[in-house]
């Protein structure tokens, strides 16, 4: 135990003296949360649109006011001819054009039917979709208001409730994702690098000649990163709770325990990388390319897994972050108890045992 403490002390000195890396390690989660929270978002706000109002009556005027007063749209230009629409899209400023045909109010009152054309710039299909959805919703609202005194023969009334995230904030999705990414990065990459560094410097030999058990060497090297990860988890949770307003609906204790489990999986992965990498660069490269990229792409955090072809969905099951991401979403956002995530927990625990056994077997006790 004394040996272990001496070793861990030394590891902390290494980390403490390397201020740049320390700053990156502790600052990264904060920067990521802030960037994801305020800059990168799927929500569309204040999209510029153009209006071609060929009717210019009371109905179109109030519809335009509805659109303009929503926080999603900002009317960039009032057009006077159909040809102008193309020109405006070419300029690239507007994302959508709304065309209100002539005699809009008359049609509406006399024939009970009028049409509105929405023309969106689908070079970014997601934005186009979102904008037309918003616009449709606003128009439906308007219609509902003017028809409320009249009884339509048949109506299907859809009522939507957005569970767990009523305001549909992007933060609810990316906070769990950022947690998975940061923990993986800190634990896997840093553990791999720090162990390979000792190999490179020749100090690993000294350690293996000493009475210190190899397994203790490994645990002592990984331990400080477990502590750093806990600091990171804390700062991410505090930021998302108090700055982004993401609630922690489930048990905080469960969330922390699951995070520690995922941290251990990542540490084991780092250990495995360190046994096969001979230089720090290789260790970094493997961690980034072979681990971080699939994590970002296949954990379900950036791209929905449901839409992927079967082979990719199968592969995604091998990505530890996928399971952790699900767990965090369930516990933190949905507020579910352990019973809801025991399967994921078991899978992560299994992965940890498997990786750890593999890594320790590969870790050369006698160097050759």
């Amino acid at each position: 135990m004394k040996q272990f403490i001496a070793f861990v002390k030394k590891e902390f000195i290494h980390i403490w003296r390397d201020r740049q890396t320390l700053l990156i390690l502790l600052g990264m989660p904060i920067v990521q949360i802030v960037i994801f929270g305020f800059a990168l978002t799927n929500e569309v706000k204040n999209a510029k649109i153009a209006i071609l109002d060929q009717s210019k009556d009371a109905a179109t005027a109030s519809l335009i006011t509805e659109l303009a007063s929503s926080r999603y749209f900002e009317i960039e230009k009032e057009l006077s001819s159909y040809q102008q629409i193309e020109t405006e899209f070419h300029k690239g400023k507007i994302k959508m054009a709304v065309v209100l045909p002539s005699r809009f109010q008359e049609d509406l009152l006399h024939f009970n039917k009028a049409s509105v054309q929405l023309i969106a710039d689908a070079s970014d299909p997601n934005v186009a979709n979102t904008l037309t959805n918003y616009a449709t919703a606003i128009i439906m609202d308007y219609q509902k208001r003017i028809t409320q005194d009249r009884q339509l023969p048949y109506t299907i009334h859809t009522e939507m409730r957005m569970l767990y995230n009523p305001q549909q904030k992007g933060a609810f999705n990316f906070v769990p994702g950022v947690m998975a990414m940061v923990l993986l990065l800190v634990c896997t990459m840093m553990t791999a690098i720090t162990i390979v560094k000792e190999k490179e410097m020749g100090t690993m030999e000294i350690m293996l000649v000493s009475p210190m058990k190899p397994i203790m060497v490994v645990v002592a090297k990984a331990f400080p990163y477990l502590v750093l990860s806990l600091v990171n988890i804390t700062s991410i949770l505090l930021l998302s709770r108090f700055v982004l307003g993401v609630p922690i609906n489930g048990s905080l204790f469960l969330l922390v325990v699951e995070s520690i489990l995922f941290t251990m999986v990542s540490l084991s992965l780092g250990l495995l990388v360190s046994t096969s990498a001979e230089s720090q660069q290789t260790a970094m490269f493997i961690s980034l390319v072979a681990l971080l990229l699939p994590t970002i792409m296949l954990s379900g955090f950036m791209f929905p897994l449901e839409n992927m072809p079967l082979p990719l969905r199968v592969v995604s099951n091998l990505i530890p972050a996928k399971w952790y991401y699900n767990i965090v979403k369930s516990v933190m956002i949905k507020g579910l108890p352990f019973q809801a995530v025991w399967k994921e927990t078991l899978i992560l625990a299994g992965m940890m045992v498997f990786l750890l056994v593999l890594a320790i077997r590969k870790f050369k006790i006698r160097l050759s």
Binding site: K2, Q3, I5, A6, F7, K9, K10, I13, H14, R17, D18, M201, G202, T203, E205, I206, M207, L208, V209, S210, P211, M212, R366, L367, S368
Partner: protein
Amino acid sequence: MEKIITAHKLTKRFGDFTAVNQISFAIQKGEIFGFLGANGAGKTTAMRMLCGLSMPSSGEATVAGFDIYRENEKIKRSIGYMSQKFSLYDDLTVKENMRFYGGIYGMTDTFIRDKTASILEQLHLEKEGDKLVGSLPLGWKQKLAFSVAIFHDPPIVFLDEPTGGVDPVTRREFWSMIYQASAAGITIFVTTHYMDEAEYCNRVSIMVDGRIEALDTPAQLKQTYQAKSMDGVFLKLARKATRAAD
């Protein structure tokens, strides 16, 4: 005299390649034993087997009376080791390095404090105790590395080419430290390819192509091979080598 290291037909094969081929020798307690050979002759491999860093393919050996197959852990407590690569941490201070190495050998805090003070005094580095090792000149680092290798007072210390890249003055000082350690009863097992250093040893063995070709006192070797210096002895023997240096 008590034999502290023995090897009998110790062999290490890597696939078809026999790095160390049936070497046998015995080293007395307190001896300075020079382990010589050209690059690639197998001396580092032989030393690593004795330290427990490498598993022998066949043969027997004991270190400090312990069997290298079965009593690895006991051997580890009885030896110090200084590797070719310089083995102190540059981003730790001199004192922190000593505290660390003392710590992993399970020394008590009092022992570590007293020992650190006495080493710093001996090396006249009292003022440098709190400086980062990375800021010290190479010669000092090497002397410190040796002090750290014998920090826990082991009966045996293995030195793997400890003086590579050091100027002649520092090498002389380094060897005077080795003599002091030897006088204190520590057995020194040292590999080198500086032939003038071979003269400082009590006995030397010369490895060629994985075998020990000669083993005797420097004086006796010079006589046997009719050479004026160890350089001459070494050249005569090394010329037999068929193996390319790595």
